[in-house]
Subunit: 226 residues, 2 copies
DNA sequence: TGTACATCAGTGAACGCGCGTTCACTGATGTAC
DNA sequence: TGTACATCAGTGAACGCGCGTTCACTGATGTAC
């Protein structure tokens, strides 16, 4: 068997393990992840998994990286459904995609944005770049929109607290935009995130009745700089 | 010993158990709650706890109810620092109190708003009333503000999706207010909640630098109907 | 083409651990007469 | 005041369970000569 096929098989097994892990998180919650349970479902002994991941921690890290990247990929796909000349369409699509991804992959969402897993702490040098991708996408769309005049920043939100402005100014170049735009993105991010998180865990639906429509209204207000 | 003193001692022990449980959640996460660990820290055998709570589930329910009520109490205390004639001050104080309570009691916050605990499901008839208190407080403050003209609803947000409006209209009387005000409160709630949740789990601080100032700006925008 | 060897995925037993819950019990304290 | 009894907080052993990880191993497959 050629070496490349062997590697492909190895990686396919890694994917299989992660896929079973994701299914189990859905049933048991992120804290319920267990190598033995995964092995059982795969019809294999528990030590066999150690060929593919050196520990439970490593598997969790892989799942987290996948989740951050899958979310960012979803946003990028949404962005691409409109040309760069229509940043409002891009922004709307991206914001809706954020929620849709979360609803479609609730445990991945929990994994990256929810309670930390008891004994686990993520290796920052791996997760930070993956985690930043989503914000970078929102940043560049908004930046395009502001430059072309399609998106305006809310006056109420352009008065950035000095200490925050100082910090954002340091990071903004890394995102290829200004502190103002980055601030707007952070505000926007916290807004959609709160709505999604509360919906996911069942706090808003009993009150608003139709969470999709509720979120839609929230997104329109956000795009209009409200 | 008089019967009332016996009951008081019993309840004091219940409080002690919950307090140790809270400390352990802080260290181990909400999913790490364990009767045996609590008993160990109390210097007592595990079965002894069954005098006070019939099961781990019951203890968790008690902790959840306490948390919802403590949060609502914090909002009410904040509300009371301004007279009813100054609803903007009341609203600002309440919104800031929401974050302060969350930062002071991160695991209680996780417990009520974070990932569900694996094997546990809350008894709705007990938790729903407690959970609704916070929203009711924001609702009555906002209602006062709108009636007296101190608080105005953002135009962008008064266009409520029809399906949402229908549902809110059913619930609004129960909160002693209108569908519009309730909608504004839900929007406001999702906004501050997202900011707090992302801050608590470390997602916003590295970007905004000064989360207190960032949140402050967000609250001002919210009060101004932004 | 055949043989000796290396590679490596996967096994099964074992380690030490912690968990929620049950059970029959002890022993101190308070109550009734 | 003294005695028999009831109450009840707390104990210690045991139940059956699941966990992550280690270890020496088997047995199939591919490689070198």
């Amino acid at each position: 068997m050629p070496r490349s096929r062997i590697i492909a098989a190895y990686e396919r097994t890694q994917e299989q393990i992660k896929s079973v892990a994701r299914r189990q998180m859905q049933a048991q919650g992120t804290a319920g992840l267990s190598l033995r349970a995964i092995a059982r479902e795969l019809g294999v002994s528990a030590p066999a998994l150690y060929r593919y991941y050196p520990s439970l921690e490593a598997l969790i890290t892989a799942l987290i990286l996948d989740a951050f990247n899958a979310l960012a990929d979803a946003l990028e796909t949404a962005e691409a459904t409109f040309p760069d000349e229509e940043p409002r369409g891009q922004l709307r699509a991206a914001l809706l995609a954020y929620r849709e991804w979360a609803l479609a992959h609730p445990t991945d969402f929990e994994l990256i944005y929810g309670n930390p897993i008891p004994g686990y702490s993520a290796p920052a040098e791996q997760t930070v770049p993956a985690a930043s991708r989503a914000l970078a996408i929102l940043g560049r769309i908004t930046d395009r929109g502001v430059r072309s005049g399609h998106i305006r920043l809310t006056p109420a939100l352009t008065t950035i607290p000095e200490s925050v402005n100082a910090h954002l100014s340091l990071l903004a170049p890394g995102y290829g935009t200004s502190a103002e735009v980055l601030h707007t993105c952070m505000i926007g991010w916290t807004r959609i995130h709160g709505a999604i998180q509360l919906e996911l865990f069942g706090h808003t639906p009993p009150v608003v009745g139709d969470p999709t429509a509720f979120y839609g209204g929230l997104v329109e207000a956000l795009i209009d700089g409200g």
